[in-house]
């Protein structure tokens, strides 16, 4: 009986630990001049593929493993051509962003040509 209680407790413990997922979604600010697409987090730790995020919209949420990394995306450069945009985080002024482990994180981006 004791063994069974231990096993069930262990199972609950694992389940509880497993629910602490780190998730990330990207919001395209209403200040953006364009939609963003082809979002990549931390050199491919998560990728939103063909999902297009229009102004004032939020992308789907994805589970990520890395809590520090670069966000990359493509934008129209103003001439109809697509370029790989450099994403600068306002907290650090660099290309590296940090998110909280075990949380649902939303990063708001503002794209401008």
């Amino acid at each position: 009986m004791k063994k069974m209680i231990f096993a069930v407790s262990t199972l609950f413990l694992f389940t509880a630990c497993g629910s602490d997922k780190t998730e990330l979604s990207i919001k395209n600010s209403d200040q953006s001049t364009d939609s963003i697409r082809d979002i990549v987090w931390a050199d491919g730790d998560a990728s939103w593929g063909t999902e297009v995020v229009n102004e004032n919209m939020v992308s789907s949420s994805k589970e990520v493993n890395e809590t520090t990394g670069r966000i990359e995306c493509t934008v129209d450069d103003g001439t109809g051509n697509y370029v790989n945009a450099t994403v600068i985080t306002s907290e650090t002024g660099t290309e590296t962003a940090s998110i909280d482990e075990g949380s649902s994180n939303v990063v708001t981006v503002t794209a401008s040509n």
């Binding site: 963003i36 491919g44 129209d76 697509y82 370029v83 790989n84 907290e91 649902s104 981006v109």
Partner: protein, 236 residues
Amino acid sequence: MKRFLSLVCLLGTQFLFSENGVIWQQVSGSWKIDKIGEESFLYDLRTNGYKFNYSELINNNSIRTLASYKYDRISLKLNAYNPVSQSSVAVFFDSPGDYREFSAFRFSGSKTEITKIQYITSRVKDTTLPRDRKLNFEIKTLEEKTISLPYSSNHIIEISFKKNRTVLSINEKEIMSVENKDRPEASQLGIYHTGNLLKVFYFEVFDGRKPVIMDNFSTDTIRRSTVKATVEKKQQ
């Protein structure tokens, strides 16, 4: 007085000549400028890119002039180093507007040396489709030649356009001459690479004797499309 005016004109010409008028558009990669001793250079931090598939330029790490120029000669000094298994560097030109339209000399190689030069063109497959349609471009190899060029060495690349032909010279030796009948009057140009790191020490473009781009990368004139990000909220 005449001497004074001549001096003023000469100084003005020098100023205009040394002033860097070109603005580069970073299409893909992470391009920076730096300086070692007296020599400044352009370099890219990226080895590989993502296959976003809007164009060959975005699939590789590329940089292109923002403005169009009329030109008949391109001269640059570059150094490709730290290659991975498949590596390439290309100098592209005759790119009037659309990133999917250009001609280029593409150098490809293995991990040990550059083994091949190709004259390629990129064209839009279906011009009726919107620009955000992926894989709507086609790369064609029109000519190809095997060569042996070392990595981690400086190479002077010269491309000249004369009488419907485009001629490629490397380190002052003519390597390839290809037919090129329908050149646009003016166009953008640039470089791309993948599978290696790249330094470019200068990029010069001429129209006859007139220099139209004289960039030794002493100043950063790269236009980067930026996206500002804020970690907005964190919910437990």
